[in-house]
């Protein structure tokens, strides 16, 4: 999902991109999802059909690493699993021209640690793209302990080329966005668990009170409660700070398989198109 979204954004910026999938089957499903998400954006007037055609013509779907030889830059976007990421990095490190940057897309993992066994760790850095990559305006550019200035500047420029505002961060668990957002989301969950207010009203209070476009609990549902739990556990272990201890209600929902929008139920309920089905009357779109 993240890889697809990043590839779309890169193609939208007029660059050619190869998107590597694990299997032919995954590749077919990616092709369909690409079409679907672009069609959705056309229906929302954000894109025209000729722009869609141009974007698709710049994305090459592949299943092997062969395409990487002449790339200017490589981005890995596998799930937040250090062992898996390390395995991919080894492949990239071996195949990509030696002075071209390798980008790790992560919201919580240590760039320095992942880069440790690379042949040239100075060309490895992190870029934390936020989903959906095509519309979110920010990207965190993360400098590992050994990342060179040149590679870091290169990545900042690349971020600008994608039309994003790069936020420069030094490596620390959670960087800026994840580190600040997670305790807020966790606290909202505590409020619900303690029975202070219902989930829908907690979200509404923050939306209307502080101009959040999406309430924190709906944001968590849309991100995936399993991913939220995974990030929090990681931050908790890495920092030892109690403020990152996952709320027990979050654990309970994940154990029950209520993972948010993708399973149809988390703090709220969703239809097959991931639209909320239980909005309060005060939470409808309108002129306010």
């Amino acid at each position: 999902m993240m890889g697809r979204s990043i590839a779309t954004k890169v193609a939208q910026a007029g660059l050619n991109v190869s998107l590597k999938e694990l299997s032919q089957e995954a590749l077919e499903s990616t092709r369909k999802e690409l079409e679907k998400s672009l069609d959705h954006e056309i229906a929302r007037f954000g894109l025209t059909s000729s722009e869609k055609k141009a974007i698709l013509s710049r994305i090459r779907l592949v299943t092997t690493f062969d395409a990487i030889g002449d790339a200017d830059l490589a981005i890995e976007t596998v799930q937040e699993d250090p062992a898996l990421k390390r395995q991919i990095l080894r492949e990239l490190d071996r195949r990509l021209a030696s002075d071209h940057p390798i980008v790790i897309n992560t919201s919580t993992l240590s760039i320095t640690e992942l880069a440790a066994d690379a042949s040239r760790p100075e060309r490895i850095l992190g870029m934390h793209f936020l989903y959906p990559v095509t519309t979110t305006r920010v990207v965190e550019v993360v400098r590992g302990q050994l990342t060179s200035d040149e590679v870091f500047d290169h990545a900042i420029q690349f971020g600008r080329l994608l039309g994003k505002v790069p936020i420069k961060v030094f490596e620390m668990p959670g960087f800026v966005t994840t580190r600040v957002a997670l305790p807020l989301v966790n606290e909202a969950m505590h409020v619900v668990m303690e029975g202070v207010a219902q989930a829908a009203e907690v979200d509404l209070a923050l939306k209307l009170g502080y101009d959040f476009r999406v309430g924190p609990l709906e944001w968590a549902d849309r991100t995936g409660l399993d991913r939220i739990l995974n990030w929090m556990q990681h931050l908790h272990v890495e920092t030892g700070e109690p403020r990152f201890r996952p709320c027990p209600l979050l654990r309970r929902l994940v154990r029950a398989g209520l993972l948010g929008a993708k399973t149809g139920r988390g703090f709220f309920t969703y239809d097959a198109n991931r639209r909320r089905t239980d909005r309060l009357p005060d939470d409808q779109p309108g002129l306010g």
């Binding site: 050619n16 007037f45 954000g46 025209t48 779109p285 002129l287």
Partner: protein, 418 residues
């Protein structure tokens, strides 16, 4: 003199070499020696085209990453012994640049001094997609041709003669002083040329007449030109206002925008592209932004294509009536632009039923006129209707010669509140 005319967009540069001077333009003997463009700048498969009258078209592909390389490439093509038209780059004696927005700063074409360039840069806030690209073209051309004069010709300049009651919007006045929100109008070079040429063809002087120029291309606008001065035009703060266009909405109730943004939860980007790229002929017909396709669909009986066509023509007619009223009458209506020059259907539906104000369309003349100059009203018509093919590049080249010859007319804005 040989003048290089450049129209630089964000990813393309259109170029022409035109031979003209004050004498030639007096006799309408301007000569386009070569026409071409470099497309897809910034990509690995950029394309250069060059066409020279009497020769097969030439094209070439290579990677061109920025405007400097694009203009160098175009210059090399122009001096190529086999495909070119110039013996040496030094044959180019001046360069004319199309600049989209001159704000309130520029009411006529000017020599590009560092001060002028800085002022054009300052106008970028009003045309963030166009002015920076125009300037990239200028900087690239200046690097290649530093010894010759460069002249800027603005799309907005001709309309600077509009009076305050035509250019101010009915919104709080401080928004004009703070953000320069007002009607600027566009296609000025085309309206200026067509009003001049149309009057000339009729044996009139533009300065004695009231004419309406209708530019119908991918973008569409209409202007009321009273004794040689633009007193109103349909495009406004941006080229979105006024007539229906290929993919642009033209006039609509501005309250629709916040309403839609709230109800559909659209972002600024989405609502912008909705109005600029998903609307107009395309958005209504669902067929195409190209009038030719819409006409075909209409002939097949597609109702949405028919209504798109009717909206398009109805708006033209409404504006013609409005501008005739604004000038207290009209002597001629000139049709131009790809659609205005080539579509008798559009002209007929836009201009029929205007006999009450003295305009009688001649059906046979209208049907027989496509892509060329010609009268389309009856001999007895009190208001003349003509097709006048536009030529912005020629006007730019002529302005270069005028500026260098010290005879560029200046259009003084009648009133300023700034």
């Amino acid at each position: 003199m040989k003048i290089l005319v450049l129209n630089s967009g964000s990813s393309s540069v259109k170029y022409q070499v035109i031979e003209t001077d004050l004498e030639r333009m007096e006799e309408d003997r301007d000569l386009a020696l070569a026409v071409g463009q470099v497309e897809k700048i910034g990509l690995s498969d950029s394309r250069l085209t060059l066409s020279v009258p009497g020769r097969p078209n030439y094209q070439d592909y290579r990677e061109v990453l920025e405007h400097r390389a694009a203009i160098d490439w175009a210059l090399r093509a122009l001096v190529d012994p086999e495909h070119g038209v110039l013996a040496a780059v030094t044959d180019i004696e001046a360069v004319g640049h199309r600049v989209v927005h001159g704000g309130e700063e520029f009411a006529s074409s000017v020599l590009m001094t560092p001060d002028v360039v800085a002022k054009i840069e300052a106008c970028s806030v009003l045309a963030p997609l166009h002015n920076p690209a125009n300037l990239r073209g200028y900087h690239a051309a200046f690097a290649a041709l530093p010894k010759v004069p460069h002249v800027a010709v603005f799309d907005t300049a001709f309309h600077q003669t509009m009076p305050g009651h035509a250019y101010l919007y009915g919104i709080p006045f401080q928004l004009y002083t703070k953000h320069q929100i007002r009607r600027y109008g566009f296609h000025g070079t085309s309206h200026r040329y067509v009003s001049y040429r149309g009057c000339q063809a009729l044996g009139w002087s533009r300065d004695d007449r009231r004419v309406i120029t209708v530019h119908l291309g991918n973008g569409c606008s209409i202007a009321a030109i009273d004794h040689g001065r633009s007193i109103d035009t349909s495009m406004g703060f941006t080229p979105l206002e006024g007539l229906l266009m290929g993919t642009r909405s033209g006039d609509m109730d501005p309250a629709i925008i916040p309403w839609l943004m709230a109800m559909e939860e659209l972002t600024l980007h989405q609502v912008n592209t909705m109005l600029n790229k998903h609307s107009g002929l395309y958005g209504i017909s669902g067929v195409s932004s190209d009038m030719r396709e819409v006409l075909k669909a209409r002939a097949r009986g597609e109702r949405r294509a028919d209504v798109a066509f009717r909206i398009f023509c109805y708006r033209v007619k409404k504006y013609v009536g409005a501008y005739a009223a604004a000038m207290g009458g009209v002597d001629a209506v000139f049709m131009t632009g790809g659609i205005g020059e080539n579509s008798p259907d559009v002209r007929e539906h836009s201009l029929n039923g205007l006999e009450f104000m003295g305009l009688e369309l001649d059906a046979a003349r209208n049907a027989a006129t496509a892509g060329k100059e010609g009268e389309i009203s009856t001999d007895g018509s009190r208001v003349k209707a003509l097709v006048v093919p536009t030529n912005e590049e020629k006007t730019i080249a002529r302005d270069v010669a005028r500026v260098l010859g010290g005879v560029m007319p200046t259009f003084t804005p009648p009133e300023s509140f700034a």
